[in-house]
């Protein structure tokens, strides 16, 4: 294994732990990993809220926990754009909303 390959493996392991619920890499301080993961999540959430304030607002107080759940299952891929992230989150939220049945949307009388 070359220096580059070894470094690649270590960096990939760290990002997987921070962004995608991967196992903690050996030797890192567990609390520091948690703080870093939270900071990265908060930054990503802020960017999405800036791009699409409406979706953030529509989630109300659930925005942060919903975004955390979305982010864990959907880490940002190399080469993806922030706008795509915001759109994917909006679609994810929409898919989770309880579907209105045809009879629920009708006016009475």
């Amino acid at each position: 294994m070359s220096a580059r390959e070894r470094l690649a493996a270590r960096q990939a392991e760290l990002l997987a732990a921070l962004l995608a619920d991967g196992p903690a890499p050996a030797g890192f301080d567990a609390e520091a990993l948690r703080v870093e993961a939270d900071a990265l999540l908060a930054k990503r959430r802020r960017v999405v809220a800036l791009i699409d304030p409406e979706v953030a607002e529509s989630c109300g107080e659930d925005f942060a926990p919903l975004f955390a759940e979305y982010a864990r299952g959907n880490p940002r891929r190399d080469g993806s754009r922030a706008r795509e992230d915001a759109a994917a989150f909006a679609a994810w939220v929409e898919a989770r909303r309880p579907k209105r049945r045809w009879w629920q949307g009708r006016r009475r009388g």
Binding site: A3, L14, A16, A20, A26, R44
Partner: protein, 269 residues
């Protein structure tokens, strides 16, 4: 030592505060985030500043020079084109990685301070330099965690990097202070160990303490300790320029003007 260098005092240009940056007193130079510019046209505000002769320095965040992946020629090419369009005397990015294993961290991550990681970084920096056409300055980052197996101190790591690549140093004193506070590192020892003759310019920014951890947010006022560290630096070297970074929760113009004035006072000694 002390006094004003050839760049002077500056502020990070952001589209949200474009008019503010244009009318703030005492803005000698600005920085733009290179990835936010298109290579075929400049924002009008940036053109106005260039028209006044204000240097505009492209600052990149996505080269991932500390990463294990080979340097992306398209990203280097974009930075070179932006620099040419701005007639910029230099460009910069960070000593960090942002991509690995197919994921994008979305923020600057520290590289392990090992010989092996330094080899890869040096190799990447040389590749980038070959495609740039203007000098490259590299910035020390704020880290919330540390790799377990450092073989070099940050000063040794940065010194060897600059010596082997001939790159310049963009020294962020707020990042130094953040690391000192969060990771127990000694910022003055770092200052004493750095090749300050390679100083391109200096970054200053604000942050906030949350749950006992200092976050370098660029969205809060500059803490007095960061200005004190800038003072320590100015006792050791004359930085060619000092630039305030503010990226969010923009305050009133007067508040930014006061921060620039405070920086100028520290630099003037």
């Amino acid at each position: 030592m002390g006094g004003m260098g050839e760049l002077g005092i500056g502020i990070g240009w952001r589209s949200e505060i474009d008019l503010t940056v244009e009318r703030l007193p005492g803005v000698d130079f600005v920085e733009v985030v290179a990835e936010n510019l298109h290579r075929d046209h400049l924002p009008e505000s940036v053109r106005i500043l260039r028209g006044r002769g204000v240097p505009v320095l492209p600052h990149a965040v996505s080269l991932s020079l500390g990463g294990a992946d080979p340097v992306d020629p398209a990203r280097v090419g974009h930075l070179a084109e932006v620099a040419a369009m701005l007639d910029a005397p230099m460009v910069s990015d960070h000593v960090c990685f942002v991509r690995a294993g197919g994921l994008d961290s979305g923020h600057l991550m520290p590289v392990p301070r090992t010989r092996e990681a330094l080899e890869v970084l040096v190799d990447n920096v040389k590749t980038a330099q070959a495609g740039l056409g203007v000098p490259l300055a590299l910035e020390n980052i704020a880290a919330l965690l540390r790799w377990p197996d450092a073989e070099l101190t940050e000063a040794q790591f940065l010194t060897e990097l600059t010596e082997r690549t001939d790159c310049l140093l963009l020294l962020d004193v707020a990042n130094m202070w953040a690391n000192a506070r969060n990771l127990g590192e000694d910022p003055v020892a770092l200052l004493d160990g750095l090749p300050l003759e390679r100083l391109a310019y200096v970054h200053v920014a604000g942050g906030v303490v949350r749950d006992g951890v200092y976050h370098d947010t660029h969205a809060h006022p500059v803490p007095p300790e960061v200005l004190e560290l800038l003072g320590e630096l100015c006792r050791r070297a004359s930085p060619p320029g000092v630039l305030l970074e503010r990226d969010d929760r923009y305050p009133a113009d007067a508040e930014l003007a006061a921060e620039l004035a405070a920086i100028r006072a520290v630099v003037a000694g």
